[in-house]
């Protein structure tokens, strides 16, 4: 059970870490100052969440590693994040679409995790879900504004949705690791969240005048660590270079 729990906490922590890093790549480069501040705020929320999840993962593992060790000293094959969050930022609309798809799942998952029989998981989820409820307010609003905006913004959002939709399925894929934890009452069964997710996104995309892709084909291999996309390695070289070049550096 400990192995599965550690594995699952890595998934939660790595999702936050990788997505938080991706969002931080916009810092200083967003289309407008106010969005720059908003997106950097969100990035910081995710890095805060990472400290909580990876901190708990390190405790559960009990090998003397810290959250920082897990974040900075693992390589691509050790990462357990969803393929969705490691996708490059693309244009601003693509970043917002990636964020919305993630947020729509994330808020449901965290809501379920607040009822975990594991005390620390439940406590972290209760803290984190407050931030995430705002994240989805923001990303949903922007998807609608850009989708139902100008012909140019509409086209960019439709392209973003078509490109990112195949990464949605992985969020609802339940594997043996999750099965074990579901049976223990530690985590919600993510496959049961799909209906609520579909209802949320269908409503938003209808308002945003966007068309849902007809295929539900799903890329898998991120959260199992078996097949990350080529993008994750590049992200890690940026994120981890300081600790790799100057091991143990602090300030």
């Amino acid at each position: 059970m400990t192995t599965e729990l550690f594995e699952y906490l890595l998934r939660l922590g790595d999702n936050s870490l990788v997505l938080g890093h991706r969002l931080s790549e916009w810092c200083g480069k967003s289309p407008i100052l106010e969005e720059d501040i908003a997106i950097s705020n969100t990035a910081l929320d995710f890095i805060g969440q990472t400290q909580l999840w990876l901190g708990l993962a390190a405790t559960v593992e009990g090998q003397g590693r810290s959250a920082d060790d897990l974040a900075m000293l693992r390589d691509v094959w050790d990462f357990r994040n969803l393929l969705l969050v490691e996708q490059p930022n693309g244009n601003f609309g693509e970043t917002i679409m990636r964020q919305y798809l993630f947020d729509a799942w994330h808020v449901l998952l965290l809501d379920g995790l607040t009822r975990s029989h594991h005390q620390e998981i439940s406590a972290i989820a209760q803290k984190v879900v407050k931030e995430v409820r705002y994240h989805i307010e923001r990303s949903r609003d922007l998807v609608i504004r850009l989708g139902d905006g100008t012909p140019v913004s509409h086209e960019k959002m439709q392209i973003a949705l078509d490109r990112l939709w195949p990464y949605v399925g992985e969020m609802f894929d339940v594997d043996p690791v999750e099965h074990t934890l579901i049976e223990q009452g530690l985590i919600p069964d993510t496959s049961t969240l799909r209906a609520a997710f579909d209802a949320e996104v269908l409503k938003t995309f209808a308002t945003a005048t966007l068309t849902l892709p007809s295929s539900n084909f799903a890329h898998l291999g991120g959260k199992s660590g078996k097949r990350h996309s080529e993008h994750l390695g590049h992200l890690l070289t940026q994120m981890q270079w300081l600790q790799r070049a100057y091991p143990g550096a602090t300030w």
Binding site: L33, E34, A38, N41, E137, D141, R145, V152
Partner: protein, 98 residues
Amino acid sequence: MTEPKAPEWPLWEVFIRGQHGASHRHVGSLHAPDAEMAIKHARDVYTRRKEGVSIWVVPTTAIAASNPDMKGPLYDPSDSKPYRHPTFFDIPKEIGTM
């Protein structure tokens, strides 16, 4: 590839109420396409450290300001009239702080 430069978003003045009972205070300004986005941006720019429980945004163009050249006629007449301060009055204890 150069796209035509979009016109800048309008400017909004932001007012935050720090706690229940206190009045909204001007904290700064920001750009946003409409009031709803202005409130969201204000939340991200001005309330990250729990500064507020309520946000007002007002289009900057809706604010009428006094003319700096009129400083003399407007404010000079209240020079040397300290008796206009309420400190000259005794406030009964039961009233408390005003």
